[in-house]
Symmetry: C2
Subunit: 192 residues, 2 copies
C-alpha cells in the first residue's frame, strides 16, 4: 500500500460488510469439518445440505508488516454441528507475543482463548464487548446465539497466523449447547 | 498486565464510555487553547465560560509495549473556537512507521492526517467509518457535527506519542466552519 493512497472504508455494524470490499474468505463445513467433535453429525449435515457456510471473514489489502494494523470483520452464522456451536478454526499468532482485539458489533458469541499449557478462558461477547486476546494465547470465536455473530478485529501486522498448532492439538475445551445455554466442557480429544 | 488476568470490557457506542473504567483524560480549552487559530476567541470563551471541555479520552491499563494493542475511545464535544471546530491536539507516533485505526461510533467528524512534508488528507467520519492512519502520518480529529463525535482507536503498543512536533509546527491545514459546512484551509501559521 502506498502511504499516499488513503482508502476510506466503512463497516456496517449490522451485517459486518466492509465497503469498499476487498476479499471475503468463506469457511464451509466441508472444509473445516475436522474441528468439530461430532464427526457423524458433520457427515449427516453434508449429506443432507450438500455443504454449509459456517463463517466468513471480510479482509482488506492492509499489508501484514510491523508498521501496519490489518483489520477484518468476521460473521459466524448461527447453528450447531451436533451439539457444538458453529465456530472458527482458531489460531495462535506465529509471533506468539502479539495481542489481538475483537469488538462485538452484533449477535451473541464467545471468544475462547487458550495458552500453550491448554488453559482456556471464555469471554462472552455481544455488541460493544471488547475481547482482548493477550499475547501468547490462541483464539477461537463461537456463535452462541440465534443470529449471526459479528465482530471487528485488529491485529499487529507482524503477528502472523499459526493455524497448524490448533489443527493438530485442538482446544482443550469445547463449547456445547445444552438446554440451559452454552456449556464449556473438557475436550476428550485434546492433543490427540 | 498479567497474561493470566483477562479483563472483559465493553464500550457503549452511544456515549463512548468504556466499562470497567480505568482512566479518563480530559482536555479543556484552558490547556489546549494554543492549538486554535483564533486566540482572541479562545480568550473570550475562557472569560465568559471559565473553561470548556473540548474532548476526553477513555484509556485502559493495556501496557504500551510491542506485544500489546492499547485502545481507547475519544469523545470530542461539539462547538467552535471562533470559526474553528473543536479538535484534538494531534500527534505523530514517536516510532514514525506505526499505523493507527479509528472506528467511528457516533456523531460526525473528520480525521486529518499529515505527513512530514505537510501534506494533509481529510477523512470524513461517522458511525462505521474506518479511518486508517497510515504509518508516518500525524493525526488529529475534529468534531464537525452538532453532537459528540465518538470513535474507538487501536494503536500498536510500541508506537509512542510525539505531541511536541505538532505543538511546535501545527497542522498545515485547519478545519473551519462556514455557512456550507466544513472548509479545509491552509494554516497561515504552519511551521511558524
Amino acid at each position: 500500500m502506498d502511504n499516499h493512497e488513503v482508502t476510506i472504508r466503512s463497516v456496517d455494524f449490522s451485517t459486518g460488510v466492509i465497503s469498499p470490499s476487498y476479499r471475503v474468505l468463506r469457511r464451509t463445513l466441508r472444509e473445516i469439518a475436522p474441528i468439530f467433535w461430532d464427526q457423524e453429525a458433520a457427515k449427516s449435515i453434508l449429506q443432507a445440505e450438500g455443504d454449509r457456510l459456517i463463517y466468513e471473514v471480510h479482509v482488506t489489502e492492509i499489508p501484514e508488516s510491523i508498521e501496519h494494523l490489518p483489520f477484518c470483520t468476521t460473521i459466524i452464522y448461527p447453528g450447531c454441528v451436533g451439539e457444538e456451536y458453529h465456530m472458527t478454526k482458531g489460531h495462535f499468532h506465529s509471533q506468539r507475543q502479539r495481542a489481538e482485539i475483537y469488538l462485538g458489533l452484533s449477535g451473541k458469541g464467545a471468544l475462547l482463548i487458550q495458552n500453550e499449557e491448554g488453559e482456556v478462558r471464555m469471554i462472552e461477547m455481544e455488541k460493544g464487548t471488547i475481547g482482548y486476546v493477550p499475547p501468547g494465547w490462541a483464539h477461537r470465536t463461537v456463535n452462541t446465539g440465534e443470529e449471526p455473530f459479528i465482530f471487528f478485529a485488529v491485529y499487529p501486522g507482524d503477528a502472523g497466523h499459526d493455524y497448524k498448532t490448533i489443527e493438530e492439538q485442538g482446544f482443550a475445551r469445547r463449547l456445547f449447547k445444552d438446554q440451559h445455554g452454552p456449556r464449556l466442557v473438557e475436550s476428550p480429544n485434546w492433543r490427540k
